[in-house]
């Protein structure tokens, strides 16, 4: 029988994994469609990093799952976790599942998320769970690149032409409603925080806000401030978009269970 605390930890790891996988998948939709070749390569490189980070988290979640419920007939793997869970079991935040929209919207989504992930991994390096600390330490080097690249693009577009500025304003209107959730602890985060395995989001919030404010000022974009925030993704209540993502992502394993190549 699995203990309550192991359950929370597995869910905590899955939420980190799902964020990375779903944003990685979203970004990968740009493959072959980027505005210029170099940026097409950049966004798909970021996808690869995110999916790699997701894999590390899924592998760890699978290991803990198998250790706590030894069931020889069904062993969890990174693949069963990514391909065989249903929409309500996914714990990614609403921000990462939002459609790509135009380049401005993709850039803003990446920036808002990378800024969060940067400080998250910085803190997670100090987790008293060794595996989580190691994944964070490894991933942080990659996220530093993501944050720099997306920050520069937010500035380039915000402080660019009137057209690019307007598109960034539209992107803010579209996405700001999903940012609050990043910094509000879900039910499984609180116990992970209390055992010092997870990251205390109250430490993260001012850091994230300061970073986003700095970049918005540089980009001549207004600070959106307090607005209504839509939450739920981290608890499994998703927008309709995730269903479409999973339909594409999971199709092969659903149609041909266990298929390999």
């Amino acid at each position: 029988m699995r203990s309550q605390s192991t359950n929370h930890l597995i869910n905590y790891i899955l939420h980190l994994a799902d964020d990375s996988l779903i944003l990685g998948h979203r970004n990968s939709e740009w493959c072959g469609h980027g505005p210029v070749l170099e940026q097409d390569i950049a966004i798909t490189n970021i996808s690869l990093d995110l999916i790699g980070q997701g894999r590390n988290f899924y592998q760890y979640a699978a290991k803990l799952t198998n250790e706590s419920t030894p069931d020889p007939s069904f062993a969890a793997t990174e693949d069963t976790l990514a391909y065989l869970r249903d929409i309500r079991q996914f714990k990614n935040c609403l921000l990462v599942e939002q459609p790509n929209g135009d380049w401005a919207q993709t850039i803003l989504r990446q920036f808002l998320f990378s800024a969060y992930q940067f400080y998250l991994y910085q803190q997670l390096q100090n987790s008293n769970d060794e595996t989580l600390a190691a994944i964070a330490e490894k991933s942080l080097k990659e996220v530093t690149y993501h944050l720099r690249w997306s920050s520069e693009w937010v500035i380039r577009l915000g402080d660019g032409t009137s057209e690019s500025h307007q598109r960034m304003l539209n992107a803010i209107d579209e996405l700001w409603v999903y940012t609050g959730e990043l910094l509000i602890a879900a039910s499984y985060e609180l116990p992970a925080i209390s055992t010092q395995q997870g990251v205390d989001l109250t430490i993260l919030k001012p850091k994230w806000e300061e970073k986003v404010k700095d970049i918005f000022v540089e980009a001549t974009l207004p600070w959106p401030g307090e607005r209504f925030q839509q939450i739920g993704g981290k608890e499994g209540k998703h927008s309709e978009h995730l269903g479409y993502i999973l339909a594409e992502l999971q199709y092969m394993q659903r149609a041909y269970p266990g298929c390999e190549w």
């Binding site: 950049a42 490189n45 996808s47 990093d49 330490e137 490894k138 520069e152 500035i155």
Partner: protein, 167 residues
């Protein structure tokens, strides 16, 4: 009965035969991917490796190739363990590896890391063209054909080239 004493050095020399599938000019020792080799009392040979990037698609192939090589040599029990900490850095690439990279047409990572910060619009790292040795080059994109490279172009010989970026 003949017993064979195998030391770490011998294993490392075997592993030099395993190429990086993404950068075939380099082997896994040059890359600094092999972190340790352990010979356990029960005869198990454990190879500890670390990925360059989290999403590096070469890791599965590398693990498989190490396994195939060592079983061909005659090892029966082989375990390949992946570790993430401390995270891989270009500092671990051997001098020999850097020389091979340059000959292959890829600029090797600079010894002193210059751009691994979150500073924006940082000046381009000075990178020497692997074709004509000019330092008169500029960066086209910090993301390249694989996660570990960025794209540069030489302003003298006009050739584009990959730079194995600092990490």
């Amino acid at each position: 009965m003949i017993t064979r004493e195998i030391d770490k050095k011998t294993i490392y020399s075997y592993l030099e035969q395993v190429q990086d599938p993404e950068v075939p000019a380099l082997n896994v020792i040059d890359m600094g991917i092999v972190r340790d080799v352990l010979l356990h009392d029960d005869g198990c040979l454990e190879i500890i490796i670390t990925p360059t990037y989290s999403g590096c698609p070469a890791m599965d192939v590398i693990s498989m190739n190490i396994r195939i090589l060592l079983s061909t040599i005659g090892f029966k029990k082989i375990e390949i363990t992946q570790v993430l900490s401390p995270p891989w850095t270009t500092d671990w690439m051997s001098e020999e590896g850097k020389r091979k990279l340059r000959n292959y047409g890829i600029a090797p990572p600079n010894p002193k890391q210059q751009v691994c910060s979150d500073k924006l619009f940082a000046p381009n790292e000075a990178v020497q063209c692997p074709h004509c040795d000019s330092w008169h080059t500029h960066r086209v994109s910090e993301f390249g054909s694989t996660p570990c490279k960025s794209l540069y172009v030489c302003d003298d010989c006009r050739e584009p080239f990959d730079y194995f970026k600092c990490h």
